[in-house]
Structure formats: C-alpha cells, structure tokens
Amino acid sequence: MFNSLQDRLQNTFSALRGKGRLTEDDINSAMREIRMALLEADVNYKVVKEFVGRCKEQCMTADVLESLSPAQNVVRIVLDELTTLLGSTESKLTLAQNRIPNVIMLVGLQGSGKTTAAAKLAYLLKSQGKNPLLAACDVHRPAAADQLETLGSEIGVPVYRGDGKDAVAIASQAIQEAVDHLNDLVIVDTAGRLQIDEEMMEEAVAIKRAVKPDQILMVVDAMTGQDIVNVVSTFAERVDFDGVIMSKLDGDARGGGALSVREVTGKPIKFVSMGEKPDSLEVFHPDRMAKRILGMGDVISIVEKAQQAADEKQVEDAERMLREGFTMDDLLNQMNQIRKMGGLAKLIGALPGGDRMMAQQGGVDDSSMGKIEAIIHSMTKEERARPKIINGQRRRRISMGSGRSVQEVNQLIRQWGEMNKMMGKMKAMTQGGNAKKGRRAMESMMKNMGFGGGQMPRF
C-alpha cells in the first residue's frame, strides 16, 4: 500500500526534469517525501525531524543539486545516513570468556515475543556449540512456563521451571542447575512488563542483580509505533539492556522503530526474528534494515540466499544443461532451490517493488510447485532424462501415479519443451556470433521467464 521512497522521489523529481539545477524548494519537497516515508515506517517523530535536517544539509551541496540524476543521489544520501544511524557494523553477542555458565536475560513488553525469542536464541547458540539451559522466569502469564517447556523440548534444550512462583529465585536456581548439569549458558526468559509498572520493573532489576547477566537483550516488536521511544528509554534507564532483538519482522512492518531505538538509547540491534520456526533468528544487518525502512527491498539477502543454496555441483549441472539440454530432474532441482530460499513468495517479496507486484497478482501460490513435483516423481528415470519418450500410455500412467489430470501432465511437458527451447537460445548466445540476435533471444527469454504468465504452469 505504501509507495517506496524511490517511487515517491521519482515522482517529485520528474516534475522538475529539464531544470538545469535544483533549488532549495525542490530539495524541500523531496525532504517532505522522505519525512512522510519515515513516519509511515513508524520512525519516531523527533528522530525524523533531526534526521531530515541532517539529510537536507548534505543534499544542499553543489554536486547533488547539479548532478544528472538528483533523485538517485538524494536516495543514496538518505540511505547512507540511515545505515550510519542504524550502526555501521554488525553487533555480535559478547559473552564473558572466563565465566561458566554465561547468562543472557530477555526483557520486554507483553506480547513482544520474548518466550519465542528465548527458544530461537537457544537454538542458534546450540548450533554454535553451546549447551544452553532455558530458565522460565515468567511467573505472571498463565502457562508461560508450559510454552517455554514445549518449545524447549522441540529444539532439545532443557528448561528449568523451579517452583513457578518467585522469578528471582528461579533465575538464581537455574544458574545452579546449569552448573550441576554442565550447561555453559543460561537464557533467562522473563515476564512481559509495561515500562510504567513500577513493581514489575523492580522485579526485572532484582533478577538482573541476582544473576548478573553477561547480556541483557530487549525484545521489541517491529510493529511498535511512536511509543517505542518511551518504552526503550525507560527500560534502558532501569534495566540497562545491551542490545535489541527485533521480532515479527516477517510481516510487512517497516520496522522504523529500529532507528528510534538506536537514536534514543544508542543500543545496537543484535538480532532480527522473522518467523515461527526456531531457526528464524538472524544477525541484524544495518544496511538491509535501512533499505527495508525506505521500502527498497532486500536484494543482498536474496543473493546471499542464492549463494547458500547453489553449490559447485549445480554450476556443473548448469553447464551440462547448456550442452545436453534440460531434463525433468533439473526442473525438480530448481524448484527445490527456490524452496530452500524460502519459497517464491518470500523471494519475490524481497525484490524491490516485489511486494506490490505480488499484491497486484493476488499473491503467489507455492502449491503449484508441489503439483509439478508430484508429476515428476511419478515418472521413471528414463522419462525424466528424456521426456520426449512420454507417449499417451505413459502420460496416463503418470497422471494416475501423481493424482493429477492428464491435461496437467501435458501442460508440464509442454512447459518443459519451452524451457528447452530457451536453453537452445541461451546456447546460441553463449557461443557468440550475432550480437543482435543474441540480445533478441535474451529479451524473449526474459519475457518467457516473467512471473505471472510464464514459467510455472498454473493449474
């Protein structure tokens, strides 16, 4: 629903095209757009005011005003400023080297996602070779300890519950428990509390005093609005946390609160949490967050994901495909890779403007991939390698085996034919020769590969 900042600025500047140089008024109108974009992203009002002021100063320099593409330049300045503000480097979790067990304590408002984050953090650190213990110190919300226990058993991390009454006692006992059971890390999950609830804030301080955590992390919901400033400044004052975990970033919230947190408390964002699964806690990257706040898509993350998914063997495969043509197994592989990267929807959503494209198309349906997979799995090895041999009888068998209709099988085979033709064109291109012809082939290929009408058969 929101236009990205780039689009907004493009509109502003397109009205000015033909002007030799930009005036202060032009920059002002650009700054207005930036202000609105940041406010829509829930960046705190005061932070926005200062930020826009700083950006404006930079934009008023001559090389921006007189450059050929002022829109891009302004965006670049804003992005750089934003990245700097969010912290120029990744902020790692620092645990004391000579202390066993290390202690991490989580605090935050009700419903910000502490219990889930505790389990995710335990999972992450376990995969890095730690042997964590979870301490269930939320004695206020009904069944909070049950929730932690269930999550703990899912990821194979023990949970210490104590008597379920005295949060401070549970926390201290958990440390002893960890010593007794050779756990080298204790993650203390605490109850959600409002920053103005004196009694509860006192409890948090008492827990802190009792266990002296290496790190106190505050869990902040990415959807929090302007009030985040009041919340984090009080928490910073009372419990003095070391860093922030931003939760629920898998939604479409821009997470402008991250900027406010940084600006108001100076504390770094350490992790972002983006899903229901235990492995969805990621290290925070300021540059990507800056792009997200401005609605510019997260291209680097995609590339990284693609790099993770692709290994050397697949590079060989690509060469073989060019040489010998494209088999059904290759198609299957490709689909698996897309899935590894989080499904089509996640992939497209991370592209600039991708979320809007998806909204227009009414979302992307990953289920058609499952159907194609079923069909391919019902083929023999020979059929997969040389789909040309699939005759009417084989089609019927495949259709019965996969539970899809003969028409769907036909459609897949037709689709395979098209892809193979594309491969042929690509081959012609890579083998050089007529450059113009190559470009034309590339263009038609791009068209074929376009989402919506193309590659994936729609059932």
Partner: protein, 301 residues
C-alpha cells in the same frame, strides 16, 4: 481506582503535550498548528489522518472565528469523536452470541478472552470458552487457567488439531448446554502469511455455518503500541474475514492508541472494548467522546 482514572493516566503524556500547546498564550499562532499536527502524529494517528484533522480544524477555526485555544480544544474533541463509527450491536451483551477473536501474535487475544469470559460469567451470563489456538505452545493451557479462575468450561482439542473442527465442537457443546455467550480464541498470525489467513477464513466460515441463526462476530484484537503497520494488519484481516469490530489492548502504557482511530475510521469498524489495565474490570466499553476528551484533557476532572 476508577476506569476513567486509568484511562487518563494512560493518556497522560499525550494530554500533557496537548495541554502545553493549548495553553500557549491563549491565542493561536502558526506554530500552534505545526505542533498540533506533530502531537497527533506522535500518537500513532498516522501522518495523513493528522494532517487531515489539523486542516479541518484550521478551516473551522477560520470559519467560526475560533481564536482561543480552549475553544479549539473543544472543537478538536468533537472532530476526533466524529472520526469513530458507532457500534450498532454489542456482541458481548446482546446474547445469544458467538465471538471469534483474531489478530497477530502477541496482541492479547487469549488474555482478552479470559477477561471478557470472567466478566460475563460474574454477571450471570452462561459463557463458554473455545480454544482454537492449537498452534502456539501452551496456548490451550493458558486459556484453561483463565477458565479455572472463573469456573468456565473450556472446549478445546490437543495441540495441532484442526482449529475449524474445534470451533464446530464448541458451537455444538454450546447448543447442547444452552450457552448464551461463546468466546473463541484463535492462533495469532501475521496478516502477510496467506496460508494462515486462509485457514482462519475456513475457521470463520465453519463456525458461521454451524452457528445457523446465532450471530457470529469476528473481532480483531489490536495492541495499542502498534504503529502504522496496524492499518495493514486490519485491512488484511478485514479483507479475509470481514471483521465486525475491534478491541484495543494495552492502553495502560504510554502508547496513545492513535492507530485505533485510523483503523476504526478507515475501515468503518466500531471499537467494542479497550483494555486499560491488568485486572478483569479494566477491560471496558469504548466511549469515543470520553476517549477523545481524555486524550485532549477536557471534561473529566
């Protein structure tokens, strides 16, 4: 500690800032309008709504020759009150009634169900709780604790069960027992996850079908600290489920809940209840006028 006190305390910060503006020398200047707009934005009302409200008020001030800040304050209360649609029916008192609670993770659905059920039960209404959050770990246990506290039966199934089938059984049990008010808790989900939204649409349609003539209301629970993304949330939930109304929780913090105004106004959804504290009695019927008066610092003394 009365409810109005709680609400006022919750809104104190915004009141203070607004009061500052309103008392500034009595006569209004250009700065007054800028500050007013800023304050509304700070309340999570959204830059767009804030601008519209300010412009309207400004126009009205010129038309009616309102020069002093106390006059403007009254006009602002009226203006803000007018932004809220009025509820035609209260699904929690006009029984028989079935209410489904939906919303994103951590909005406060389960707690709200527990509180409303406890209140209704204390008022002598035959109440039943349905636990259709079969996804989150220990959500069922949390609900059962609430049920035990006030002696209300909780109908649910094991974790991982189909939530639609839970609802079916809840309505069936309610019918058998002659229950007047049925409150069903659902699993929290982000509005961007289309599969889970479809699942919820199925839950709603199964419940509606099984309920027959008994009215089924779908209520979105929204956290007052939510920022502009709240509007996205509400829109998606409304598109998928056609909502009947809202409940705003956690207004006892310093959050002003301005997003509630934006949602209520843009999607034409009434606010049924607001949560201003931890205890059962702190979940109260929403009154637009007193909400706005408390926000602007007028009326309640």
């Amino acid at each position: 500690m009365g409810f109005m006190d709680n609400l006022r305390r919750g809104l104190e910060r915004s009141r203070e800032t607004l009061s500052e503006i309103f008392y500034m020398g009595g006569e209004v200047t250009e700065d007054f309008w800028d500050d007013l707009e800023d304050t509304l934005v700070m309340g999570d009302m959204g830059a767009e709504v804030a601008m519209r409200v300010t412009d309207d008020l400004r126009e009205r001030a010129a038309r009616e020759n309102l020069m002093r800040s106390d006059q403007l304050r009254r006009a602002l209360v009226e203006r803000l009150t007018a932004e809220f649609p009025v509820a035609e029916r209260d699904p929690f008192t006009d029984t028989p009634s079935i209410v489904l609670f939906v919303g994103i993770n951590g909005a406060g659905k389960t707690t709200t169900v527990g509180k409303i059920a406890g209140r209704a039960h204390a008022n002598g209404v035959k109440t039943l709780i349905g636990g259709a959050d079969t996804f989150r770990a220990a959500a069922i246990e949390q609900l059962q604790v609430w049920g035990e506290r006030s002696g209300i039966e909780v109908v649910t199934k094991e974790r991982g069960a189909d939530p639609a089938s839970v609802c079916f059984e809840v309505v069936e049990t309610a019918e058998k027992q002659g229950t007047e008010l049925v409150l069903i808790d659902t699993a929290g989900r982000l509005h961007t996850s289309s599969d889970l939204m479809r699942e919820l649409a199925k839950v709603v349609s199964v419940t509606r079908k099984r309920a027959g003539d008994i009215p089924v209301s779908v209520v979105l629970v929204i956290d007052a600290t939510t920022g502009q993304n709240g509007l996205n949330q509400a829109k998606e939930f409304n598109d998928a489920l056609s909502l009947d109304g809202l409940i705003v929780t956690k207004l006892d913090g310093t959050a002003k809940g301005g997003i509630a105004l934006a949602i209520s106004n843009q999607l034409n959804l009434p606010i049924y209840r607001i949560g201003v504290g931890e205890s059962i009695d702190d979940l109260q019927t929403f009154d637009a006028r007193s909400f706005c008066e408390a926000l602007v610092g007028e009326g309640v003394q």
